[in-house]
C-alpha cells in the first residue's frame, strides 16, 4: 500500500489533524447560517408559531438591492485603494531599506488599532468641523466627507487600515526573493519603474489577490466605520442588518436575517471569484 504524499492513508491522517480546527468553524457557520435562513423564512420566529414566508426577501427588494449595491461600491472602492496604496507602500519599503523600515513599522503599528477607533479618528480629522477643516480654514468650501453621498470618510478609513495590512502581506510573501530578482533585472536594463512594474508587481500578484479578497470580504461585512462615518440613508448591508436586528419591531428580524444572508452570499461569491483569479495568477508562474 502506498504511503507517499497523496496516498489514502496520508490524506486520511491530514483530514484527522485538520478536524480540531475545521469542526468548530463548520459548527458555528452551519448553526448560524441555518438559523439565519430559518429566521429569514419565518420558520424560527422570536414569538409565535413557525410560518413559512418569503416576505423578508420579497417585501422590500428595492431597499435590499440598494443596500447591496452600496455595500459593493464601498467594499470595491476601499479594496482598490487598499491594494494600490498597500502595493506602493511595499514597493517603497523594498526600494528604500532605511526609510522603508520606518514605514514598515508604522504600517505594522496601524494594524492592531480597532476599526471603531480608526473611524472615530477619521471622523475627527475629516468632519465639517474637524481638524482638517480648521487647519485649512475653509468652513464654507470644505467638502462633505463625513456623512456625504460618496462615503469618502468611511472608504478613507478602510483604505488607511487595510493598505497597511496589504503592504505587510505583500512584503511577507516576496521580500526574500525580490531583491535579487530586481538586481538581475537592473543588470538586464530594467529601470526602477520597470523593475516595479515588470518584476515586483507580477511577483506580488498572488499575495495582492489573496489580500484583496480578504479586504473586500471584510469591508463588505464591517459595521463600525460605515455606521459612524456614513450618512443615515441609504444604508449598506451590515448597517441595515444591525438596525433591523435591534429594532423594537420583532417582525423586522426576518428582514435582518435576509440582509445578513445577502451579505454572506456576496462575500462567498467574492471568495470564489478570488480563488479562480488566484488559480489563474499562479498558473502564470
Amino acid at each position: 500500500m502506498s504511503r507517499g504524499p497523496g496516498s489514502p492513508a496520508t490524506t486520511g491522517r491530514s483530514v484527522l489533524f485538520a478536524l480540531p480546527a475545521v469542526l468548530p468553524v463548520l459548527a458555528v457557520l452551519g448553526v448560524s447560517l441555518t438559523a439565519a435562513v430559518l429566521q429569514s423564512l419565518g420558520l424560527m420566529p422570536f414569538i409565535g408559531p413557525p410560518d413559512l414566508s418569503f416576505e423578508a426577501w420579497t417585501g422590500n427588494t428595492g431597499e435590499l438591492f440598494r443596500a447591496t449595491g452600496l455595500s459593493l461600491y464601498i467594499a470595491a472602492t476601499a479594496t482598490v485603494f487598499s491594494v494600490c496604496i498597500g502595493f506602493l507602500i511595499a514597493a517603497y519599503v523594498l526600494a528604500m531599506p532605511r526609510m522603508g523600515r520606518i514605514v514598515a513599522a508604522l504600517s505594522a503599528a496601524t494594524i492592531p488599532i480597532p476599526h471603531v477607533i480608526g473611524a472615530g479618528a477619521i471622523g475627527l480629522l475629516l468632519s465639517d468641523s474637524g481638524f482638517l477643516e480648521r487647519l485649512l480654514g475653509m468652513p464654507d468650501a470644505f467638502p462633505v466627507l463625513v456623512g456625504g453621498p460618496w462615503w469618502i470618510a468611511a472608504i478613507t478609513e478602510y483604505a488607511w487600515k487595510e493598505s497597511a495590512f496589504v503592504a505587510l502581506v505583500v512584503l511577507g510573501s516576496i521580500a526574500r526573493s525580490v531583491g535579487e530578482l530586481c538586481d538581475a533585472a537592473a543588470t538586464l536594463g530594467a529601470t526602477a519603474t520597470q523593475r516595479i512594474l515588470r518584476v515586483v508587481l507580477p511577483l506580488a500578484m498572488p499575495s495582492l489577490a489573496v489580500s484583496a479578497v480578504i479586504v473586500f470580504v471584510y469591508t463588505l461585512g464591517s459595521y463600525e466605520a460605515v455606521w459612524l462615518l456614513g450618512p443615515t440613508s441609504p444604508e449598506p448591508l451590515p448597517v441595515r442588518a444591525v438596525r433591523l436586528f435591534g429594532s423594537v419591531d420583532l417582525a423586522a428580524r426576518p428582514q435582518a436575517m435576509a440582509t445578513a444572508l445577502v451579505s454572506v452570499a456576496v462575500g462567498a461569491a467574492a471568495i470564489l471569484a478570488g480563488i479562480l483569479v488566484l488559480r489563474r495568477v499562479r498558473g502564470f508562474r
Partner: protein, 347 residues
C-alpha cells in the same frame, strides 16, 4: 560587443571592515579573466561594483576608458550571471531571455524572435515555452546565460554561475562558454573559487585574497611561477621548502635547484608543484625521501614524502603521480624536478 574593463584603485569598506583594498585590474576586449579567491575574499563585491549594484568607497570602474561613476546599473551595458539563476518565475523561458529586449521597448514578438537566437545558442530552443520553474539546475543556468547574452552586453560578468552544478553539468557549461566565446567573443570576468574552472575558462587569472589582488597573469604562470606562498596555496600548490638562494641556486633538503634569474641571494622558499616532481630511483634524484602517505585522487595519486638532507631542515614534499604509483609506505625513493629547475619566492 567587446569592451575593455578597468578597475583602478578600487576599495570598498563596510563599516570598519575593508572588503576590497586598492584593487587595480585590466581586462582587455574579448579576453576572459578569472577572479580566483576563497569565500569572503571580495571577488563578488568587485563584480557587483562593476555591475553598478554596489558603490565603491574609492577608486574607479572604467569601460573603454569611460568612468562609470554615477551610471546606474541598467545603463552600464554590462550583464551579470549570478550564482543562482534568478530566472523570473512569472515568465516562461523565452520571455525570460526576451526580458532585456522588452525593457528597451521592443514588441513582444520581436523580443521573442531575438531571444530564440540565444536559446538556440545554448541548445534550449525546444524549451522556449516551458515555465521557468520546470527546468533542471543546468537548464536554468543555460537560460540565465542566454538571458545575459541576449542583452548584447559590452562585458559579461559571471559570478560563480556553475558552482551549484554537478561536475558533468559543469563540463557541459564549460564547453558552452567556449562556444559562446568562439561565436560572440565577449569580454568576460569570471568569479570563482574553483581553480580548475578558472584554468579551463580563463585566459588569465587574478588571485584575490583578503581584498587584494596578489597576482594577475596567464594560467600557467600562476601555477608554476607564483608571486607568493599564498598564491601557490590558492592555486593548489602543495610544496614550499624553506632554504636559501645563492647565485641563482636554491639550496634545501631538496638539494641544489636552479631558480629563476634575478632572484636575490638570501632566504627563500622553493615552490615546486606536485606535478613538477618525479619519483626516481634512489641516487638519481636531487633528494631522497621516505614515503609517509598515499592518497588516491582516482586517476592520480598523491605520494607524501618526508625529505631529509644536508642542506636544511627536513621537510615534506608531495608528488602527483599518474595512476597507481609503484611505491609502498616507508619506502625510500629518489626525487627530482621534472624540468631540473624550480621557482623561489621570499614570502
Amino acid at each position: 560587443m567587446s569592451s575593455r574593463l578597468e578597475f583602478r584603485g578600487l576599495s570598498r569598506a563596510f563599516g570598519q571592515a575593508e572588503v576590497l583594498h586598492e584593487v587595480s585590474l585590466t581586462v582587455e576586449p574579448s579576453r576572459c579573466v578569472a577572479l580566483l579567491g576563497a569565500s569572503g575574499s571580495g571577488k563578488s563585491t568587485l563584480l557587483r561594483i562593476a555591475a553598478g549594484l554596489d558603490d565603491p568607497s574609492s577608486g574607479q570602474v572604467l569601460v573603454d576608458g569611460s568612468d562609470l561613476d554615477g551610471v546606474p546599473s541598467e545603463e552600464r551595458g554590462l550583464a551579470l550571471v549570478f550564482q543562482k539563476p534568478l530566472l523570473f518565475p512569472h515568465l516562461n523561458v523565452v520571455d525570460n531571455v526576451a526580458f532585456s529586449a522588452r525593457m528597451t521597448g521592443q514588441s513582444r514578438k520581436a523580443a521573442r524572435r531575438h531571444a530564440m537566437a540565444y536559446l538556440e545558442l545554448v541548445h534550449l530552443s525546444d524549451l522556449a515555452r516551458r515555465s521557468a520553474g520546470c527546468l533542471s539546475g543546468g537548464q536554468e543556468q543555460r537560460v540565465a546565460l542566454a538571458r545575459a547574452l541576449a542583452r548584447n552586453p559590452r562585458i559579461l560578468l559571471l559570478d560563480e554561475p556553475f558552482s551549484s552544478l554537478d561536475s558533468r553539468l559543469r563540463d557541459d557549461m564549460y564547453s558552452l562558454v567556449e562556444d559562446i566565446r568562439a561565436e560572440l567573443a565577449p569580454t568576460i570576468v569570471l568569479v570563482t573559487h574553483d581553480r580548475r574552472e578558472a584554468s579551463i575558462l580563463a585566459d588569465s587569472i587574478a588571485v584575490l585574497d583578503e581584498g587584494r589582488i596578489l597576482q594577475h597573469g596567464p594560467v600557467a604562470q600562476l601555477h608554476y611561477q607564483p608571486a607568493t606562498l599564498a598564491v601557490n596555496r590558492i592555486l593548489g600548490g602543495l610544496n614550499a621548502l624553506s632554504g636559501r638562494v645563492t647565485g641563482g641556486i636554491h639550496q634545501s633538503v631538496f638539494g641544489r635547484v636552479p631558480v629563476q634569474p634575478g632572484m636575490v641571494d638570501g632566504p627563500a622558499f622553493l615552490v615546486m608543484r606536485q606535478e613538477a616532481i618525479r619519483i626516481v630511483v634512489t641516487g638519481e634524484g636531487t633528494a631522497v625521501g621516505s614515503v609517509t602517505g598515499l592518497k588516491s585522487l582516482g586517476a592520480h595519486t598523491l605520494v607524501r614524502t618526508e625529505v631529509t638532507g644536508d642542506h636544511g631542515p627536513s621537510g615534506t614534499l608531495t608528488i602527483d603521480v599518474a595512476g597507481e604509483p609503484d611505491v609502498t609506505m616507508g619506502q625510500v625513493v629518489g626525487l627530482k624536478p621534472v624540468n631540473d629547475s624550480g621557482w623561489a619566492v621570499t614570502r
